[in-house]
């Protein structure tokens, strides 16, 4: 069967490419849950002083858990996101230490 006016056997590239693009986008999103977790964990650095001690400790734990995933990424991504994650993690720990010393 073919569309009217279309040569028999000719592939309809438009829908094929659209479906392929959607599948590819889905694959990328599914392959990057670490990025969603990174964004969630590091989104609270500006609020760090307002967070409770249990909240800060929970964020440090999440950072540590995410570190292992990031260490497994390609070199370029790892370099950037490991540094960014360390910045978040160290800040949360800094606030905890600051409180502990009665700051």
């Amino acid at each position: 069967m073919s569309a009217p006016g279309r040569a028999p056997g000719r592939v309809r590239w438009g829908p094929t490419l659209a479906i392929a693009a959607l599948l590819a986008a889905g694959t990328v999103q599914a392959a990057e849950p670490w990025r969603a977790e990174f964004d969630a964990v590091c989104a609270q650095t500006q609020d760090a002083m307002a967070l409770t001690t249990p909240e800060l400790k929970a964020l440090v734990v999440r950072c540590d858990a995410l570190k292992a995933t990031i260490e497994g990424l390609d070199e370029s991504t790892r370099k950037v996101y490991a540094r960014r994650l360390k910045g978040c993690r160290d800040l949360y720990q800094f606030v905890l230490d600051f409180r502990e010393k009665g700051g």
Binding site: D47, M49, A50
Partner: protein, 271 residues
Amino acid sequence: MTARHALSRALLLAAFALAPAARAAMPVFPESAPPELFGRVILDAASSKNGMAPAVFDHWRHRAVFSCRLCHIDVGFAMQAGASGIARASNAAGLHCGACHDGKRTLGGKTVFAACTPAGAAKPGEPCARCHADGGRDRARAEYLALSDRLPTYGGGYIDWERAEERALVKPIDLLEGVSIVRPAMKLDRDVPIEVKGSWIGGVTFSHRKHAVWNGCEVCHPEIFPVTKAGSVRFSMADVRAGRYCGACHRSVAFPLSLCQRCHRRGPFGG
């Protein structure tokens, strides 16, 4: 030996003995590079090894357009030279310089040139030479003046970025789509008094609010200002001049150290 000779010798010996202590107590007068070279960073972690000229990065070119936070938190540039691991591969992957310099983003109606190609340079020259070349001091000076002529400056021609933003002459971009995390504005606006040992210069009141306009907490804490056992950090102007503590920024892009009274309430000569 006469009494006068003995006294002279005693004074001379005392002067030698006290010289180190006197030197330690001397004010540290910082030096600053000329404005067009102020904050210049030479990036050569891999360039020379790969037959390329080192990349030359001028803070002032980028400071007019982007906030400190965007580059040093969201893009992930370290505060220490060489610590970021910038490479052709990371630039070509849309990271580091490539986060903006991807050949696609537009800025002020112009497409931002791509930092590096995935395959590397086939031959020296454009576009690699946009970064991997020192255009010479005259060119840097001319380009700096083209910018600074329309912005408020301090003595010496250093751009007063704070006043420039107050007057809406610069509007640093603070969010890069696909890179930045949307964060709420910082709620901490506590001023921190910095006690100055010595009577020749006034104390400092550090404003978190002022510094948070362009920065994020993790730019400074804990890497530059850690928590100490005493609960407060002790540092000297020699540390600052060496690029530590306040010197991490005020030796490069923020106003230079030679402008003592921007921080110290009373200047070194009681002014």
